[in-house]
Amino acid sequence: MDILPILSTLRRHKLTSWLLILEIALTCAIVCNAVFLIGQRLQRMDMPSGVAEHELLQIQVADVMTPSNPYARLAEDIAVLRQVPGVQSVASSNQVPFGNSSSNANIRLDPAQQERTLNATTYFGENLSQTLGTRLVSGRDLQPDDFVDVEAALKALGTGDSKSLPHVTLITQALAERLWPGQNPLGRIIYLTPVVGLRVVGVLDSLARPNAYDTAQAQYTTVMPLRMGADKDLSYLIRTRPEDRANVLAAALAALKKADPQRVVTIKRSFDDVRQKFFQDDRAMAGMLVGVIVALLIVTALGIVGLASFWVAQRRRMIGVRRALGATRANILHYFQTENFLLATIGIALGMVLAYGINLFLMLHYELPRLPAVYFPVGAIVLWLIGQVAVLGPAMRAAAVPPVVATRSV
């Protein structure tokens, strides 16, 4: 196929050619960035929690009257839940990964240090590791004699009574690597206050924060040996088999209600629901972006159909002459296909530059990473395909023009 005659024809239709190129360029730029944004959202939604997600249930209850002995109340509730058929393990916890509501602490590496080194979340509660299914990479799990009552620990913070304070902690691999890069974290100490230091006794593979909004800090997690009493902010976590979840949840709620009919259930959900809720905005945004991409590609394709049809109609006589002079139907078809390919290529080249520019703008204003180069060829192929599909109809109509048109006046 000779490209020169096509170029010379296009030069006579500069304005319409440029409009088509502009449309393809803008579409290419926006589609590249939108696909990239979708990728970012999907990646975020895939954030690991570090727990056995499909086996966990969360229940939170609030008592009408504050119980006189919250610790006794907690022990009763745990005992009641353990009796429920299908329950494998029960834990009490102050928070859950991706649960939003969180308790956090400022961590220092040196007791004299005034500014914090970083802010990490603190999980506390009993039987957490077994129930959540976190994986220990090195060191040991928390032992029953590590635990102290949270009320006593809070009091001891003031008095400095070290017997009532916790002395050890678990941290995640990510946090260890951030605090002591490349070193063995076991036996090292993190300071919550100048007087309260906790020795790292175990390292967890992964455990996400409840407030994992920022991917870089999502795994800054500590687990402390603190016992809580029954409280409206305390959750019961139940581990069970995935297929038993619905039944176990219903039975557990019934058992808790039976123990005290007056209490209010404030949260009852599976961990799948927790994840679903935490990332719902990301899912909605990704869905919207898919919608925009589809709409954009359709509008652009229809624009190409419209302009190509116009060109075919305008050049009927020229097509007729070429056919009369011996051009085959395939020649005519290829002519329009090549023309579209040329215009799309120029548009895509411009679009890449524009896509890069938009990405730079987004990086500046929305803290997005740089657009990976892989999106460019993908964007190019999509637009080439759209162009070819859109031009096929008008090009076939052009190929169907009979040679006799050449001899008629228009």
């Binding site: 304005l15 319409t16 409009l19 088509l20 502009l22 449309e23 803008l26 579409t27 730029a29 926006i30 939108a34 944004l37 609030a62 009408v64 009257m65 504050t66 400022n106 240090q113 005034q114 500014e115 809070l154 009091k155 913070l157 003031g158 919550l192 206050t193 100048p194 007087v195 409206k232 209010v264 404030t266 809720k277 719902q280 905005d281 909605a284 945004m285 919207m288 972006l289 925009v292 709409a295 954009l296 509008v299 652009t300 229809l302 624009g303 159909v305 419209g306 302009l307 049809s309 116009f310 060109w311 109609a313 305008q314 987004l362 929305y366 228009v410």
Partner: protein, 434 residues
């Protein structure tokens, strides 16, 4: 003449129905997307108290340690510790001033068999209602004396009054909150400023329903109600005594009625901080006194996603306009012969230009009507989204009219190039060709 152009335009649009439908459809999609996202953006970046926002100010100070402080660059903290909030309140330098924190109230209905439930609550001080123009259905707020005396009273929202007392005047009746009996002194009319500016950074949502319960700060604290968000700036000896702990958990607002009053207050605030530095309590002297809208801007209360969506929609509209330019141009070039005839019969260039612009305008109006439909569909979709502002997404009169402005501007901009090409066409060659 205009009627004639209208007839010509309609006839021309009818002649090529598919192309016309294509243009209208593409433009409508672009307009629909733009209006949907702009409606949300306008809603979220709106002024929560238009009549009052210029007089409301948010003082900020910085009790953090010297370490990490860069003079002139470090921003003061968003929240305030109890002693500082009380010192500012007791100075009475503004027309009104109030400190506030969000909490959860466990409400126990009096009806037999009714279950207790948790409601959003604000613990605040007496000036809250007058300063924020919160409208009362029955009764009124409480006094500064009630604050100091830890009076067992409460103001409830209209929707809670409807739920508990079927909307009757409940002033003087008793409501059980967190195991304490409180006397109702006021019932608010529906009041839910959007954004919920006073809750910003206090650990609550930025948009959505109003709060249900308003209690005096000291009363609530005596009932051991805790704030939703607490930020500590030094080692905490006892977290349960928030009033003395080095922790920030209160937002403070002041009403200042004149430019002079604002300047005075800023001087007072700077003086207060210097005094605290002299006393050895503070190390940093940075202060800030933003007005309501400035505070919301600094807090970037409008989610990034919403701004991104609006940008995306504008890009989409741009592509739709380029698309319309191309199609209009194609149409107009095909009618070269017709234009030649009209020119030969005496039509001026201006008349040809006007004729084509009228045609573009009709496409725009049709696109606007269809775009309005798409925008309503888009907003319906937004209302079904999980976002906290979802239920607020409705088209108002302004956006309704704005739709047609956008549609007309978009189509006329799209029409200029084709209309210009049509009017500069030399008539003679076209006539010959025909």
């Amino acid at each position: 003449m205009f009627a004639y152009y209208l007839e010509l335009a309609l006839r021309s649009l009818k002649r090529n129905r598919v192309l016309t439908a294509l243009m209208v459809m593409a433009l409508a999609l672009g307009i629909g997307a733009t209006i949907t996202t702009l409606t949300v953006l306008r809603l979220l970046s709106g002024d929560p108290l238009p009549q009052k926002s210029a007089q409301l100010f948010y003082p900020q100070i910085d009790p953090n340690a010297k370490e990490g402080y860069i003079e002139g660059q470090t921003k003061p903290d968003q929240l305030m510790a109890y002693p500082d909030a009380m010192n500012l309140l007791q100075a009475h330098r503004g027309t009104h001033q109030a400190a506030m924190a969000l909490t959860q109230a466990k409400v126990m209905p009096k009806q037999v068999n009714a279950r207790p439930f948790f409601s959003d609550a604000v613990m605040t001080t007496a000036d809250f209602f007058a300063m924020f123009d919160a409208p009362f259905q029955y009764g009124g707020g409480w006094t500064a004396a009630d604050d100091d005396g830890r009076a067992q009273l409460v103001v409830i929202a209209g929707f809670l009054n409807d739920k508990l007392f079927a909307g009757a005047n409940s002033v003087g009746r008793v409501i059980r909150i967190n195991d304490h009996d409180l006397r109702i002194v006021g019932v608010l009319k529906p009041w839910a400023p959007q954004p919920r500016f006073y809750a910003q950074d206090l650990g609550g949502r930025s948009y959505g329903d109003g709060d249900a319960v308003f209690l005096p700060l000291q009363t609530a604290r005596a009932m051991e109600m805790g704030p939703q968000d607490t930020e500590c700036y030094a080692a905490v000896p006892d977290i349960r005594h928030l009033e003395t702990a080095p922790c920030e958990w209160l937002g403070v607002w002041v009403e200042l009625d004149s430019v002079a009053a604002v300047a005075d207050y800023k001087t007072f605030l700077d003086g207060y901080v210097k005094q605290q530095v002299a006393l050895g309590r503070f190390q940093r002297t940075e202060t800030s006194l933003l007005d309501l809208m400035g505070w919301l801007r600094q807090e970037q209360v409008v989610p990034d996603d919403v701004r991104l969506q609006a940008g995306l929609a504008f890009g989409f509209l741009l592509i739709c306009v380029v698309n319309t330019v191309g199609l209009l141009l194609a149409k107009c070039l095909r009618r070269s012969a017709e234009i030649g005839v009209r020119r030969a019969l005496g039509a001026t260039r201006r008349e040809i230009f006007t004729q084509f612009m009228v045609e573009a305008g009709i496409v725009g109006l049709a696109g606007g009507v269809l775009g309005l439909l798409f925008a309503e569909l888009g907003l319906l979709g937004i209302r079904h989204q999980p976002a906290e502002y979802a239920s607020l997404a409705h088209l108002d009169t302004w956006m309704f009219m704005f739709t047609f402005v956008v549609a007309l501007v978009a189509s006329l901009v799209a029409g200029i190039l084709p209309a210009w090409r049509a009017c500069v066409l030399a008539p003679a060659p076209q006539l010959k060709a025909a």
